[in-house]
Amino acid sequence: MNVLSFGSRQCERIRRQLDAYLSNELLVETTGEVLKHLESCQACSRELETRTRVREALRSAAAKRLPPENLNEAIHQRLKRTQPGLAWAFGAPAWTLALAALALILIAGAAGQQWLRLQRGKEIVARVLALGVSDHSHCAIKGHNYPEVAHSPDQLRQQLGPQYAGLLPVVEGKLSGFQVLEAHICSVPGSPRKYVHFIARGQGTILSVILTKREGESLPSGRFLVAGAPGGVALYKGQLEGFSVAGFQAQDYFVFLVSDLGQNQVLQIASVLGPALRDAAESIVSARTLGPERTRRALSLAVKRLS
């Protein structure tokens, strides 16, 4: 191993910070200090470059380590074998189940029923909103599937295909202060679900607008779950895996906005985008039944509402 002595105490100090700098774990002021030093020190810049290169190489090589195709199936087989014994309270002894059932009968009244509905409603909202978060996390955050400079509108339309290209002007028109960098159809590994994914940059971060088919699922009604209903669009909000998410449903699609902005900021953006995007999303449904000409008219109508 080659060992290098440092003449500069500052180089030595900065290099001790480079690991935390690489992991984005430094305080803002220390980051500023490191950056200032790197601007004037070629040796430390090269050192950072090498460390970054090693880390990127590791990340890239590891990303290619995919599970065998049958692993998902094998897990489900094992889960299914365990299911009968776990369907109720996960293998709790029979007497605890009996006690729990008795307790439930005793408390079953209007309040109990309402509480159960509320809990169930909250769970469904969390599960549905998690769809958008998982796609944002996998595609935009971990996959970094967006360019530093925005793709051209033509390219974005091409990536979206004829079915979803009409959504682009709606998203671009209503995301004030954001620039749409990327738009595509994607999926989360291990799931057949498809997402229409717009990635926009603004307010110092990125924000995803995501549509996915409802597949027969619905967000529960109930005023206690609704964060707001501008233009008749019932908005749901949540904080999942460190991201703020706002969601609503159109006739055939769930729509999510996901970002690390504050929950109220995301909600505010969703309330502006919601009505126009819901109308546009409902035009997609029409595409199957109305044919291209009437769909184009329906989309034009949605876009006109932007002005």
Partner: protein
């Protein structure tokens, strides 16, 4: 938890299954054996399913699954081998006023880096995987591995250094000469 059988299966699917690739990737790089990794990931999902009533929906399911993964892995390792001594790989002290700067090939092939990673002892490998591949924060790593934050930082630093030393061996095999002090400082 009553009357929730169907919902819970769906909740579990939505919260846990999207992380299969991440879990397998880490499991295979930690165990260095694909069938052991498959078994480990299956065990993780079984354990997660059994404990799902303790998981709070909407919280970080990925971090929770990794916690189970490392718990299982450490349990297996304790049964199989005595953990290698961390001290044996301790970083040079700050008072040495020296810094390792091994040469790294300009083009690093996937095989080279994964082989280099295999040679890094498990205690360090798990930290560098969590930080650099899975992108967990220092705090999440400390929580998952049940080690202090300072230990996360020192192990990560040493892990990256060990990885570079192993890559330096690759560089040597490619005929790339070690850097001289002058060249490094130039």
């Amino acid at each position: 938890m009553l009357f929730r059988g169907k919902i819970r299966v769906e909740d579990f699917e939505a919260a846990a299954m999207p992380h299969l690739n991440d879990l397998y990737r880490s499991a295979s790089l930690l165990t260095q054996n694909s069938s052991e990794a498959e078994d480990l990931v299956q065990e993780v999902y079984l354990e997660a399913w059994k404990s799902f009533h303790r998981f709070e929906l909407g919280t970080n399911c990925r971090a929770w699954l990794f916690k189970i993964l490392f718990h299982r892995l450490h349990h297996l390792r304790r049964r199989l081998i005595k953990a290698s001594k961390v001290e044996a790989f301790a970083s040079p002290g700050a008072e040495d006023n020296v810094m390792a700067e091994p040469p790294v090939p300009q083009e690093i092939r996937d095989d080279d880096i994964l082989q280099a990673l295999e040679k890094v002892p498990l205690e360090f490998r798990e930290v560098v995987l969590m930080a650099d591949v899975e992108e967990f924060s220092y705090k999440e790593i400390a929580d998952t591995l049940k080690i202090p934050l300072g230990t996360v930082m020192s192990r990560l630093s040493r892990a990256r250094e060990l990885l570079r030393e192993e890559l330096a061996e690759v560089a040597k095999a490619y005929g790339i000469p070690p850097r001289t002090k002058e060249a490094s400082e130039g």
